[in-house]
Symmetry: C2
Subunit: 525 residues, 2 copies
């Protein structure tokens, strides 16, 4: 069982009024970007967020989202308890349609939802503080396929899942083990969540996510977390984060609400994420799509606070665009990135942590298209002040495939982004006036004292970039970055070492899984 | 001869005090982003620049740059006239070392350098306004090699030069024909500038750049521009922009100063650009490098105003980082992008147009590395408020190679960036409240009135992205973006049609070139 760190604030969620919970201070101290950027538990941004909307624009979207909530309302399907909670809170409930008076969601959220909270990992050195100026990088989520240069694209298996747990564990730039890294399609759909949660615990010691594909699978996730962290610890602290998507437009379906109820009632974090392809599940205009997003997100966040006031919750945004030719989803586009920036401002204005972005793309392989879309998306994600960033490594083909080479290319870029988000050093050393005086006109800085003293830590060392001469590069095989990445992920997996896990916990988890698997027949789809 | 448009302000530069010169208003009107983004003469950014430095940081760098100018000074080599001008302006001149009192550069610059000016093209529809919220995208510059998928890397020829003039001419997202697109290595070094300037005029009708490799080649560039635009027009208006690099640290060499004198005295624009690889030609820390950059740029800009008060001039920045392993230059890195953002703020504070950035990279081929570095660089360039952006299309291998496929991949990304920089539409139509009301919970927006009315203009149509299904993509050959780009540049060149040119001007240019070529023996290096 995990014991509580001495410094942890043990106040229960119910008594907290908009607190910054957990050992945020300690983690912040630990997270200062060291010279080598190694082993920081999360990113503390020093660059301020970019503001794409004026105060006027923000107020307009807020007003319009309130109009949507009040006039059109949101459907909460299949969970009568939640309808009753809305009725008691003052909403107009007709059937499953909930029309919410102007400002009610905001006041519910701002009364109890934490601005910042800690998600605990089984290794306390990997606890992550979610909110404020922090960003937590999480691997990609949900792909039924994998892609690599050796095999092309094929269905994913549990072995792939374990491989990506291992790669994320080994990366100093991924701060989280993630959730459904890939769908282990070799396992029954009603049982694979058990192996996924177990793999996160067994092969990593970073924080992880729970299952949301059914209420009972969410219960299983909580039960397994309790075997690791202890019952009381879990009820008091966030150890699971889970994605709750709205069924846009303006619906929260039964599956998602069942999972939401489980997690919120156990004081675990839901990421309320409208998934809107503008023109399909929302208006084709960015501001229209963001308005609907803001209405849906507020309704979902508010309902977590009605279920359990003070439960940690995250404002999620997954808004993208479509191909004009085929209606296929597109990612990392100008329009998606503008929406991402706007939603970040709305989340900060509301005062809850923000999830969006990642290395998103539509390309089928780790080529220039994949990286173009991914990097534009990532830069805007960093500048939008994202606090929990899903899909940071591996994403290909609109999420249909998880790429092995893409994973390590993305991971290297995350290291660069951490350096970038660290901002400019204005110290006397960094001002370097003495160096300029020492060297003088027409000389060079290669050997001067300042260069020698700062050289090793001056620049992020991109592991996958080739900056050699053309001749040297050619002599080494003339490989592109994907070919170099192919060697890197294989080397990483070969060098992987499993973190220690208390054998009693391991046994308890395996017993639980065996019992649960025996309790039901395999379901296949 | 080109006649002056009626609306052009004919005030001479000398009489102008920090004017916004030329027909900026008309060009602005013409430049509003049309729905299809086609044929706009330049980008008018609606996104505000990103501020990476606080007022305190800016004041610190300004103070330190003044310290460098005052204590260490700058060497102006081989041009005694310029030393005399500095002496008269109040600087301390010892030999070729010029120590400049605190604030003197700033006061010289702010007295006469225009904040904004028009560069005229031979087709007035392609005139570009440089400064303010405008960005002009210019192709890459200076590569001795070309790269394409068919031939790999080889030395560039005049035919390549012409090809890139044609591609830039055909691109609605490149607003300028550029300068030394590639080095035509099949021509003598002392004569190739004549063919380059002629090619810009003959195969395009966009604005272009002049030669800077010798004072007499700058004179040839001015003479040829006069044959196109007329003597008086050239003396009154900017028709040439040319890159003047400092020899960092803290030197302006004879070659660059000779060209600077020619262009400034003819009222043509110099881009004063320190080229600093941090750790080699400047301090290894970003803030130190930017301090030196700011000192050098101010000294170079000020000297243009001493030569001819009011001459158009641009603050250039080309600051990058190095590989920790080999000392090779690196591009698009976290450190380079932070420096780029900081220098943009300094340029705006000084009040002169800013040149920096582009699609910069170190990769040898148009792979993920090339695009990762290029896109990070481009996004920061857009957000730094760059006014004239060199190296927007084609750049590979730190500028050693101009890539055909890279050129069209970059060009497509420029279109996306134009859409992005257009910001969020907050109009009633874009708010889309009626669409949300019409569709309601659980339905879709694909066929609703709002989607039908806005669909065609809602999203930038990326020409090189493949957003089809995996199966369709595979059936079409499973190409990556570079392979698709290979077809696109060939198709563009096949479809190229030469713009009309007055036969009398063409003949005059050819006579001039023949006369100049006959006047000197070929020089080979």
């Amino acid at each position: 069982m995990m014991t509580e760190p001495e410094s942890v604030d043990l106040e229960t969620a119910e008594s907290a009024r908009r607190p910054r919970r957990g050992h945020a201070r300690e983690a912040r101290r630990a997270a200062r970007l060291g010279p080598a950027l190694e082993r920081v538990p999360f990113l503390m941004r020093k660059l301020k967020p970019y503001e794409v909307l004026s105060e006027e624009g923000l107020a307009l979207i807020e007003h319009n989202a309130d109009t949507v909530l009040e006039e059109v309302g949101i459907e909460f399907r299949g969970e009568p308890d939640l309808l009753e909670l809305w009725r008691q809170a003052g909403a107009d409930v007709q059937g499953e349609r909930v029309r919410i008076p102007r400002g009610l969601c905001r006041s519910i959220i701002q009364a109890t939802a934490p601005r910042e909270f800690t998600q605990y990992a089984r290794n306390p050195a990997n606890n992550v503080v979610i909110g404020g100026d922090n960003t937590v990088f999480v691997p990609s989520y949900g792909s039924p396929f994998i892609h690599n240069l050796d095999e092309g694209r094929r269905y994913a298996t549990l072995e792939d899942f374990r491989n990506f747990v291992k790669l994320a564990y080994m990366s100093p730039y991924l701060h989280h083990s993630g959730g459904t890294l890939v769908e282990p399609t070799d396992l029954p759909v009603n049982k694979r969540h058990l192996d996924m949660v177990y793999s996160h615990i067994r092969y990593s010691d970073k924080a992880f996510m729970g299952s949301v594909t059914a209420g009972e699978r969410a219960e299983d996730s909580v039960a397994m977390a309790k075997l690791v962290f202890g019952d009381e610890f879990v009820e008091r602290n966030c150890v699971l984060i889970s994605i709750i998507n709205t069924n846009s437009p303006l619906v929260l379906d039964h599956t998602m609400l069942a999972a939401l109820k489980v997690y919120a009632s156990h004081n675990q974090c839901c990421i309320i994420t409208p998934f809107i392809l503008a023109g399909a599940m929302g208006p084709v205009s960015e501001v229209g799509a963001v308005t609907q997003l803001f209405a849906e997100a507020q309704a979902g966040i508010a309902v977590t606070q009605l279920v359990r006031p003070g439960a940690p919750v995250i404002f999620g945004s997954f808004t993208s665009s479509m191909s004009l030719l085929s209606g296929a989803p597109t990612f990392g586009t100008a329009e998606a990135n503008l929406a991402l920036l706007a939603a970040g401002q709305l989340a900060r204005r509301l005062g809850v942590p923000y999830r969006a972005g990642g290395h998103l793309c539509a390309s089928k392989l780790p080529d220039g298209q994949a990286i173009q879309e991914s990097c534009d998306s990532m830069m805007c994600s960093i500048l939008s002040g994202v606090n929990l960033m899903m899909h940071c490594a591996g994403w290909l083909e609109g999420g249909l495939a998880m790429g092995y080479e893409k994973f390590v290319i993305d991971h290297d870029h995350l290291g660069m982004m951490m350096k970038f988000a660290g901002g400019l050093d204005l110290s006397e050393n960094a001002q370097a006036l003495d160096a300029i005086r020492e060297v003088g006109p027409g000389k060079h800085f290669l050997g001067c004292a300042h260069t020698r003293a700062n050289y090793e830590t001056a620049f992020y060392n991109a592991k996958l970039a080739d900056n050699n001469s053309y001749e040297q590069w050619l002599a080494e095989g003339g490989l592109d970055i994907a070919q170099r990445a192919n060697k890197v992920w294989k080397k990483m997996l070969a060098e992987y070492r499993m973190p220690a896990l208390d054998p009693a916990i391991d046994e308890a988890l395996q017993d639980f899984i065996a019992r649960r698997k025996a309790s039901m027949p395999d379901a296949l789809g």
